[in-house]
């Protein structure tokens, strides 16, 4: 199963949500939807209307910049990264 790594800004919002977990999914969006099923509201923290990734979040699959439609496979590493921004 793909391994998902989430930003530290996300986990305090959902009880029991770990920073790293594995989900069965074929695409980035499917992985997010699987997380949504277990932690309702989580998709909306990552995905905006469109659907599209929120502007200040990036997703990488095996170190390569990805989008919601990017395929993932068993053993893939999917990183959701919050932009270095703010002040």
């Amino acid at each position: 199963m793909p391994q998902v790594r989430l930003p530290g800004t996300l986990t305090p919002l959902f009880a029991g949500l770990p920073r790293r977990l594995e989900v069965e999914a074929a695409t980035v969006l499917e992985a997010i939807d699987r997380l949504e099923a277990q932690w309702p509201g989580l998709r909306d923290r990552i995905v905006e209307e469109g659907p599209a990734l929120r502007r200040h979040l990036h997703v990488y699959v095996n170190g390569e910049r990805a989008d919601l439609g990017t395929p993932v496979a068993a053993g893939s590493r999917l990183d959701v990264i919050a932009a270095i921004s703010g002040g």
Partner: protein
Amino acid sequence: MPKTMLIVATRKGTFLLESDDRRDWTLRGPFCEGWPVYHAIHDPVSGSIYAAAASEWHGSAVWRSRDLGETWELSSEGLTYGDEDGRKVSKVSTLAVAGDRVLVGAEAPGIFASSDGGENWSLLSTLSGQPGSEAWDDPANQPPGHLGISGFVTEPGDSERFFTIVQGVGAFETEDGGSTWTPRNRGLRRDWPSDHEEVGFCVHKLVRSAEPERLYQQNHVGMHRSDDSGRSWNEITEGLPGDFGFAAAAHPHDRETFYVIPVDGGHGRTMHDGKAAVWRTRDGGSSWAALRTGLPQENAHLGVLRQGMAIDREDVPGVYFGTSTGQVFASPDEGETWSEIASYLPSISSVNVAVVD
């Protein structure tokens, strides 16, 4: 024993200030995980606190606490225009409680409502078809701040009737819970052209006086008063140090008494001459007096935003305001004397006051 609670929304979360006597205050927070919070209110009926917030990373949501800040949850369920509409909810800007519904105003301009205490939201209205609406969804047409819906004023005893403000466009009233709307800007000053006679007004803050038919508003260009529930307006700026400001509050028991904080209308938007003052009228705006006792009178370049002032409902009301540099000032005596009750908060977006057990 009842306490006075100030709900303070900041750019870095929500804070709570509590006092038994409105003189000594204790501070709790930050709450809402440090998200930028644009407006936070207490609902006296349910006892819940709601905070409209928008994270640059994680989007918009309304936080809620049902236990006066001990625990918090957030929800944006239904707080969307959908994938097909083309509009996005970039921000939730302002909150109100109308009967058993919680209202939240969003940008792109739209009003969402929750009937279950903030767990689920649905689109109530975008004020579609109102003059000016053909252009206000375009971010290029929106004023800085991009608040979209920037305020509500509810009607005591009639939850179907309330005002809303579209930032940079004007005030609108509904009498049927948000199904239909009427612009309520007649008589307001406007120092710029508009494509529509009825809109194109920059209404910063609208408040209802102790008598429901009388409303006051701080506009981009002047203070105004209405004695006919917003159907017409008259300017009452004369006597103030300038015509620009954001925050305003009406006395809960005296329809003639009203408070405003004038700020420089240029880029600075801080209090005039670096001297902090709240201005009060006791005669419906015919004359104004500065209230300065206890407020800094030297090098005090303080800004206060549109939701940044509140007044409680005690027999002798307390008045409160929060600044864009993180101070909260309180007066237990209708503005006669002031003290600084918090000094180092993040930039303050709103101050709301409640009496809680």
